[in-house]
Symmetry: C2
Subunit: 309 residues, 2 copies
């Protein structure tokens, strides 16, 4: 099954035989005071810069969220989407559960957007699915409902099933629904990973839909989070993870995803792996060259060479 997203000039496919899709999470005012202030002034310069940086770092799709309490979410969302379309051709994931904001942003979007997100709650489904259908978007459906987030994979499967069925009732085909099986912080309960992986296995087996996840949450409260996010995504790929909303700007996360693609046969001849290696090596060499004049004679430790082992 393939999910198709597009901008005016570019198509991105999501599916088990396609390269894993990174949905860049950066354009979000949560914990970003400067971005929040600028958005409120309808200053989208940082949105443009963040869009470009994430695409350069490997994000194929860009998430945008303008949910700031008390501020004009619809206006800011429309402006941000417009700004992003001006600088990149990456399809956009419109991150809002507010009908008014979606009504403002979806009509101006050129292409097939992703809406992030509905849940299994009746109110969410009934308010948002008609808009998603009206504008021909795809949607992320999160596997929780008004009873909360279950620790029982069968219950999460049932919520996913409900979302897929309600979407179908509204004329949205299954391939346009990405299920988010939910990833809770492993530091809170060491079974949270297994619960997510089993949920994914069940969803893939019964529903066959593509899946995306907000991966950064899994290491919450633990030290050295990038490798936790990376390993979580790699462990989830064999059970059906096809995309993730994550930090494309973290080189270790991007590299892990490239390695996963290579191992899963989704990077023939290691073309993207080798390209990224050359790019990273060149950047390191440039950084060393720039740093050298500052301390030409110092016996400063050089980065370890990448070994051939």
């Amino acid at each position: 099954m393939k999910t198709v997203l597009s901008s005016a000039t570019k198509t991105v496919l999501i599916g088990p035989d396609e390269p894993f899709v990174i949905i860049g999470e950066r354009i979000n005012p949560t914990n970003r005071k400067k971005l929040a202030e600028e958005l409120k002034r309808f200053d989208f310069s940082r949105v443009r810069a963040d869009a470009l940086a994430q695409v350069e770092a490997g994000a194929q799709v860009l998430d945008v969220n303008t949910g700031i309490p008390g501020a004009d979410e619809p206006g800011m969302l429309k402006g941000a989407v417009q700004a992003m379309m001006e600088v990149t051709d990456a399809p956009i994931s419109i991150d809002s559960s507010t009908p008014e904001a979606l009504e403002a942003a979806l009509p101006i979007y050129r292409g097939k957007a992703l809406v992030n997100s509905v849940t299994g709650e009746d109110e969410s489904l009934e308010r948002l699915l008609p808009l998603i259908k009206k504008y021909g978007a795809a949607v992320i459906g999160i596997a929780n409902d008004d009873t909360g987030i279950s620790n029982d994979p069968e219950v999460r499967l049932a919520v996913a099933r409900k979302i897929v069925q309600r979407a179908a009732d509204h004329g949205i085909p299954r391939e346009d629904v990405l299920i988010d099986p939910l990833c809770m912080p492993i530091g809170a309960n060491h079974n949270f990973g297994r619960i997510t992986f089993e949920t994914m296995r069940l969803i893939r087996q019964e529903l066959g839909v593509n899946m995306s996840i907000g991966a950064g949450n899994v290491g919450f409260g633990l030290p050295d989070r990038p490798p936790l996010t990376s390993s979580f995504m790699l462990l989830a790929m064999p059970v059906g993870l096809t995309a993730a909303i994550t930090n494309a700007l973290e080189p270790e996360i991007y590299r892990s995803i490239l390695a996963g693609d290579l191992m899963m046969g989704r990077d023939p001849f290691g073309k993207r792996w080798n390209q990224n290696f050359r790019k990273v090596s060149a950047a390191k060499a440039a950084a060393l060259g720039a740093a050298a004049p500052a301390a030409p004679s110092a016996a400063s430790p050089t980065p370890s060479p990448v070994t051939g082992r």
Copy 2:
């Protein structure tokens, strides 16, 4: 299913609900000229140092290979095993397919050893399985036979089935057989990863045995191999990989395995994850402290702090 290995004083369990087991690959004269020369002189000082270093780095089991063409493999193997038992309590993987070498090393080993390895070839099975039974060892069975290494997962499964059955014929129970599903360099054929993963899925489904793999081979010929080895192992864990013969001394590989264990619910409270983080951080701080006097005033780039993201 649990595979039990032991030394005189320590037991290591291998199985899907146990921490992933690293079998340290370092004590092997291939491409290690100094080690080879020392082994030929029956000098085991480097063997002892390598054993200690690998255990310190996280290896739970230690492989030992003394296969040097034209030299006394049985005598060297016996001496190396003796030396390793003197300095560590890690169970040993005796890496030889030579009956004479196994006959020299197995009688002096105190505990339950792992023999690395038999293949599905009749000659290999009939010569080695009686020794493995005689000394109560466990064994790695590699999924190739005299027809070679098949690219068909069903054929590899059939070889694995044959090994498990022949072992049973010799009175060796299934839990004492670790199958190596074989991992060929992904740079040679981008389907080699998928072939291995599908082989593993079939083996786990039909035979239910534990699996180990020589993981370092997968990135042969490609740049930046540690993350390739790491991602390969993480992708293989959900389909049944329970152990790997790999480079415990590579911090990135060890860290990925710890992250995998944490995500799979095999490191409650992140105890080992946190311990390793503190150990690595302390080592980095010590290295910085040691480096500082050499260039006290230079504006040398400091390592990036580990982020909390």
